[in-house]
Amino acid sequence: MARLLIDKDLCTGCESCVPVCPFGALSMKEGIAVVDEKCTFCGACVDVCPVNAITMEKEEKAVTIDTSAFKDVWVFIEHEFGKVSGVSFELLGEGRKLANALGCKLCGMLFADPELAEGFAKEAIAYGAERVYLVESPLFKIYRTDPYAKAAVDLIRKYKPEIVLFGATTQGRDFAGTVATTLEVGLTADCTGLDIDPETKYLRQTRPAFGGNIMATILDYPNYRPQMATVRPKVFPMPERDDSRKGEIIREPLQMTEEQVRTKVLEFIRGTETVNLADAEIIVSGGRGVGGPEGFKPIRELAEVLGAAVGASRAAVDSGWISYEHQVGQTGRTVRPKIYIACGISGSIQHQAGMKTSEIIVAINKDPEAPIFKIATYGIVGDLFTVVPMLTEEFKKRLGR
C-alpha cells in the first residue's frame, strides 16, 4: 500500500497543503499537517509544500511487462449513420504530434460494415493515418458494445499499440471501459490535453475534474500498456485532409457471430431538433429567465437564423419547459461551440462546467451582477424578450435571410 508521509520536523505549519487537497484529507493538528483516510494519493500536496515535508511512498507494482513490445499511436475511427465522426479526425491530428514525439507510426482502428469500410479507411489515411487496422463485418452496421469491444481487444492484444485514443462520445465512452477492463489497463476519461513527457516518453493525459473546477494530469504506470484515453470532441483542431496520402490497410476477421452479441437494437428515434448540441458550432441557450415553455420561442427563432442548436439550463429543464436532451452543464451535456449565447441564465458553477470552454460566450441577462457576465466575452444587460428578437432581426438583415 502507498503512504503519504509528512515529516513532522520539516513541516512549518504553513497550511499551504490543506486547501489544495481535492479530497479534504489534510488538516492541521497542533500546528502540523496530518492526513486522514480520505487521501487518494493524488500528490497535489506534495507539489505545493514549500519545505518538501510531504513525500509519497509508492510500492512496486505487482505486474511487470515488457513495455518495449508496445509501439505506435492508435486512434479509434468512429462512425455513425454512414459518416466518420469529426472527433476521429481531430484525434488523428493530435495523434500525429504524439507519434512524431515518440518516433512511431500513427494508425487508425476501424470496425465497419464491408460496404462502407474501404471508404472510411481511405478517409482516415487522408487525415494522417499511415496504417489502418480494419475489421469488417455486417455486425458493425449499428454500434453495439459486444462486437466493438471484442474487435478492439483482439486487435490490441495482437498488435500491441503503445497508445489508444477514443473520442469521448457515447460510443467511445461506452466500449472503451469494457476494453480497458478486459485488458486490465488504465483508461483516462474525457481528456482535454495530451502530450508526451520528454524524459519518460509517457503519455500525459490532462482532464477536468470536479465539474471543471480543477484539472488533473494523469499518467499510466509503466507496467500497464497500452495507455488509453477518451478525448473530448472539439478540443483539438481538424487537421488538413490530403487525399494523395498513402497508407496500408491491415484486415483482421471478427471472431464473433451475431448470436454472440447480447444486445439487440430495436429502434432508433431521431431527436426532433435539426441541429444537435454535440455537433453545433453555435448554441443559443435559455434559462429560468425565459419564464415558461413559450419563452423558448424567441430562443428558437434566433437559433434558426444562425443555424444553431438550442440549449438550456437545468432550471429550465427541471421546470418542464424543454426536454432534458437540451440541458447543458454538469448533469447535462458538455458543449464546446464556437459561439454560446446564454439568455436568462445566471451562470451557476454547474452550468459553467458544461460550457465554459466555448470559444465565445455571449450573455444576455437583466441582472448586471449575474455570474455569467464574469465569463462572457460579450454581454448585454437587458430583458431577453427585447434583446433576443432584436438580435434575430439584425442577423436576418445582415445574412439576407
Binding site: P19, D146, G177, T181, G186, D220, K264, I282
Partner: protein, 265 residues
C-alpha cells in the same frame, strides 16, 4: 427481482469555490452528498421493485463517512445496504473500483439488475459502470433514460438510451447492468419514519478480505493510472465586454462583432 445499486459519495460541487489568491480549491465546509445520478439510480430501483417485487440492495465503496449515503438510501426504502471500506482500497482508480464493486456484488449473491449513475460528478469518468459489467460478464446498457419493459419470465429488459442524435431502443438479457441519466425519473424524498429508521440501522462494513478481493487488484496497487498533478484551470479570459448604451446601438454592435468572427455562415 434483486437489484443492486452502486452509489458514491462526492463533494457537493455547488459549494466548491476557488480561492482567488492562491488559485486553489477551497474545501473547507464543503458538504458531501450522494452523487446526483446515483439518486436517480436508487429511485429507478425502488420503482422497479414496487412494480415487480423483489429487493433493492445499495452498495458504496468509500471512507467510513460514506455511510451517510447509505442511510439516505435506507430512508427512501432500500432493503439492504453495504459499506465497502478498507484502507487497502485507498487510491483506487476506475479499474480497481469496478473490480472491488464487482467482487462485492458477487459476495452478496449477485443481482438480476445492477444500476449505476451515468457518471460521478467528482471524476466524471463514466467508466465504473461498464467496468463492473465487464467483470461480472453481463451486458451493459449505458445512458438509459427510460426502462420500457422488464420481462422476468423471458429474462429480458428493454430500455431507451439517450445518445447524441436521439434515443436508441435496446433489448438485453438479464442479468444486465444499466447506467442512468437524469431524465429517467424524479427521485422521492425520504419520509420521517424512513429517516428515523435509517438513523438507527446497523450498517455492515465489508473489508477487502470479506469480499475476497485480490490485493493486487485494489487500491493504488491495482490502479494503472496515477494522478501526477492537480491544478486550477486558467481563468477564462472573460469578464469581457459589457456592451453599454441604447439597445438599438448595442444589438447591431454585438452582431457586427459576432459576424467578424466568421463563425456565422
Amino acid at each position: 427481482m434483486k437489484i443492486v445499486v452502486c452509489v458514491k459519495q462526492v463533494p457537493d460541487t455547488t459549494d466548491v469555490k476557488i480561492d482567488p489568491k492562491t488559485n486553489t480549491l477551497i474545501r473547507e465546509g464543503v458538504a458531501s452528498i450522494c452523487n446526483p445520478f446515483d439518486e436517480y439510480a436508487i429511485e429507478e430501483a425502488l420503482r422497479i421493485k414496487e412494480k415487480l417485487g423483489g429487493e433493492v440492495h445499495v452498495i458504496t465503496m468509500g471512507p467510513p463517512q460514506a455511510i451517510e449515503v447509505l442511510r439516505n438510501a435506507l430512508a427512501v426504502g432500500a432493503d439492504k445496504v453495504y459499506l465497502i471500506s478498507d484502507k487497502a482500497f485507498a487510491g483506487s482508480d476506475t479499474l480497481a473500483t469496478a473490480y472491488a464493486l464487482s467482487k462485492t456484488i458477487e459476495y452478496i449473491g449477485g443481482a438480476d439488475l445492477v444500476i449505476c449513475g451515468k457518471q460521478a460528478i467528482d471524476g466524471d469518468t463514466a467508466q465504473v459502470g461498464p467496468g463492473i459489467a465487464t467483470r461480472l460478464g453481463i451486458p451493459q446498457l449505458t445512458y438509459v433514460s427510460k426502462i420500457r419493459e422488464i420481462d422476468l419470465e423471458k429474462k429480458k429488459i428493454i430500455v431507451e438510451r439517450l445518445l447524441e442524435y436521439g434515443r436508441e431502443v435496446v433489448e438485453a438479457p438479464l442479468p444486465a447492468l444499466i447506467t442512468v441519466v437524469k431524465d429517467i425519473n424524479e427521485p422521492r424524498l425520504p419520509s420521517l419514519i424512513g429517516i428515523k429508521k435509517a438513523a438507527k440501522a446497523q450498517i455492515p462494513t465489508l473489508t477487502a478480505k470479506d469480499i475476497n478481493a485480490d490485493e493486487n487488484r485494489i487500491g493504488l496497487k491495482g490502479s494503472p493510472t496515477w494522478v501526477v498533478k492537480v491544478f486550477t484551470p486558467e481563468a477564462r479570459g472573460g469578464g469581457g465586454e459589457i456592451l453599454k448604451g441604447e439597445l438599438n446601438e448595442v444589438v447591431p454592435l454585438l452582431v457586427t462583432k459576432l459576424m467578424e468572427t466568421k463563425f456565422i455562415k
